[in-house]
């Protein structure tokens, strides 16, 4: 028997493991060309050849950009989303800007950012920031707008208003929604950071993937992609674990794991 607290982790690993096994079998059976799609074992060998010494600095560079961009977006997104929910004028002003940026691929801003900041840290951080801010703003807006009025009224009857009302009732009540927005933002962060690094950066996992791909070393390219995959998946699992702990007060069945 597996200890109960390990079971969610086991569940989380079952389908990826099955997929990898199928992949290995497909390549070994010769159903696809191993030159174009290396098997998982070939990728593992390539990964060992690259080695931690080469990989770790690139991984650290990517994660640092993601962390800074995500953190800035989380703070900015909660503040702007709250402001829009609480002020109709703010909503009227910012909504058209947000709605029009929503459909644009965020990586298309990169050439502009290179023009402004040159090649390096800031263009990537900025594009991560923009990609992450949108879902946080939208989910915060809905979270703050949908606080049940009886909770607000209760606070008002205790003489609470203004800032105290925001910090002690509106923000905590909106946290389930806000965290869903942040979880979506975290996924976006990885996507645009890698895309950005492939376009402009001289460091980072995206840069590594791009250069292996260009050089035709597909096993190595897949090795870096698989590292990215594992790291992004772990980041999401960690965020979910944090979310479930933080929202332990929430009625079960309301915790949104799937629909995000």
């Amino acid at each position: 028997m597996v200890p109960e607290r390990l079971q969610p982790w086991l569940k989380a690993l079952a389908s990826p493991v099955i997929l990898v096994l199928l992949w290995e079998a497909t390549v070994r059976a010769g159903l696809v060309d191993a030159e174009l799609l290396p098997s998982p074992t070939q990728i593992l060998v390539a990964l060992r050849e690259i080695g931690a010494a080469e990989l770790m600095p690139e991984l650290a560079a990517t994660l640092f950009r993601i962390a800074v961009g995500f953190a800035l977006a989380a703070v900015f997104g909660v503040l702007l989303g709250s402001w829009m929910a609480l002020s109709e004028r703010a909503n009227g002003f910012f909504y058209p800007i947000l709605a029009s940026t929503y459909a644009i691929p965020k990586s298309s801003f990169i050439p502009l950012f290179i023009l402004w900041f040159g090649i390096g840290f800031w263009p990537i951080v900025l594009v991560v920031f923009i990609a992450c801010a949108l879902p946080v703003v939208v989910y915060t807006f809905h979270g703050i707008s949908d606080v049940p009025r009886l909770r607000i009224w209760s606070a008002l009857s205790f003489g609470v208003s203004g800032r105290d009302l925001f910090w002690s009732v509106q923000l905590p009540a909106a946290m389930p929604e806000i965290l869903v927005g942040m979880r979506i933002a975290l996924g976006f962060a990885f996507t645009v950071a890698i895309a950005g690094e492939m376009i402009v950066s001289t460091t980072g996992l995206g840069k590594l993937i791009f250069s292996y791909g260009e050089g035709g070393v597909y096993a190595s390219m897949f090795a870096v992609i698989s590292v990215l995959l594992v790291v992004a998946y772990l980041a999401d699992l960690l965020f979910m674990a944090f979310m479930n702990h933080y929202l332990r007060w929430l009625d079960r069945g309301h915790v949104s794991g799937g629909h995000a």
Binding site: W153, F158, G159, S168, R248, R252
Partner: protein
């Protein structure tokens, strides 16, 4: 009880714009005087606007017409002197039982140790010792409503507004909570205004029952309740006086409910 007027409503009305373009009159021409320390209940069929009336007294909903004062001063919004318990628990689900009760206490000018002591006392009163660190989702409906009542009492309001506070409780818990409310009311000098559709509850608890008509809600009648309050509950509720007054109110409410149902 000869007492000064605590809350006075004069010609209070409330109408909403209907989705179709017309106007819905929720409350019409309500004129009520509630004495200081009095226990008044408003009964009426569901949808008659009695909750709206209570929200207007609470200052949460604006009135369309009329005036409303407390201690002679106009009511223009919510205030700490008017505490409210809602039908559905409006507890803060992210706070534990103790934190919920501390929420209003922290906003009163009390020393920290007195806040803790008062919270502990209220938790004792509602019989939830040992549940201090539970979140509302871990409690039964009855327990949550007890916490909601304790939280309102923690703010120590002069007036208690109760919007069908026992509606969601099972019969046994409801009786316990009703007796607890009576005890608090007798022990303090609080004014109570209760909304209910339960006529028995209205007779058992209050000194005066106001009957509201089907929509548009108007106060159509008023019955002063006289019962021997020193009797134990079972004797009180089985007395002839109780049955007589209960029937009188019940018939009037039933007429309104039928009018509402056949409209």
């Amino acid at each position: 009880m000869t007492s000064s007027a605590k809350i006075v409503l004069a010609g209070v009305g409330k109408s909403f714009k209907a989705a179709g373009g017309g106007e819905i009159v929720a409350v019409s021409d309500a004129s009520i005087t509630i004495g200081a320390g009095e226990f008044v209940t408003i009964v009426g069929p569901s949808g008659c606007g009695k909750s709206t009336l209570l929200y207007i007294i609470g200052g949460f909903v604006s009135r369309s017409s009329g005036t409303i004062t407390m201690d002679g001063r106009p009511i223009e919004g919510p205030g700490v002197e008017r505490g409210i318990v809602f039908q559905e628990y409006a507890l803060f689900p992210w706070l534990t039982v103790e934190q919920n009760i501390l929420y209003p206490l922290r906003r009163r000018n009390l020393p920290k140790n007195e806040q803790k002591a008062e919270a502990a006392r209220l938790i004792e009163v509602i019989g939830l010792r040992g549940f201090e660190r539970r979140f509302p989702r871990e409690l039964s409906g009855g327990m949550r409503q007890r916490v909601a009542i304790a939280r309102t009492l923690a703010a120590d309001p002069d007036v208690l507004l109760l919007d069908e506070p026992f509606g969601a409780l099972d019969a046994q818990t409801r009786e316990i909570m009703q007796d607890e409310l009576l005890r608090v009311w007798r022990a303090t000098s609080k004014t109570v205004c209760l909304i209910t559709h339960d006529v028995t509850e209205a007779i058992y608890l209050s000194q005066r029952v106001l009957i509201m008509s089907a929509r548009p809600g108007r106060i159509i009648d008023e019955v002063r309740i006289s019962l021997d309050r020193d009797l134990p509950r079972e004797e009180c509720e089985t007395s002839a006086a109780f049955a007589e007054q209960r029937n009188a109110v019940w018939l009037k409410v039933r007429r309104e409910a039928l009018a509402a149902a056949t409209r």
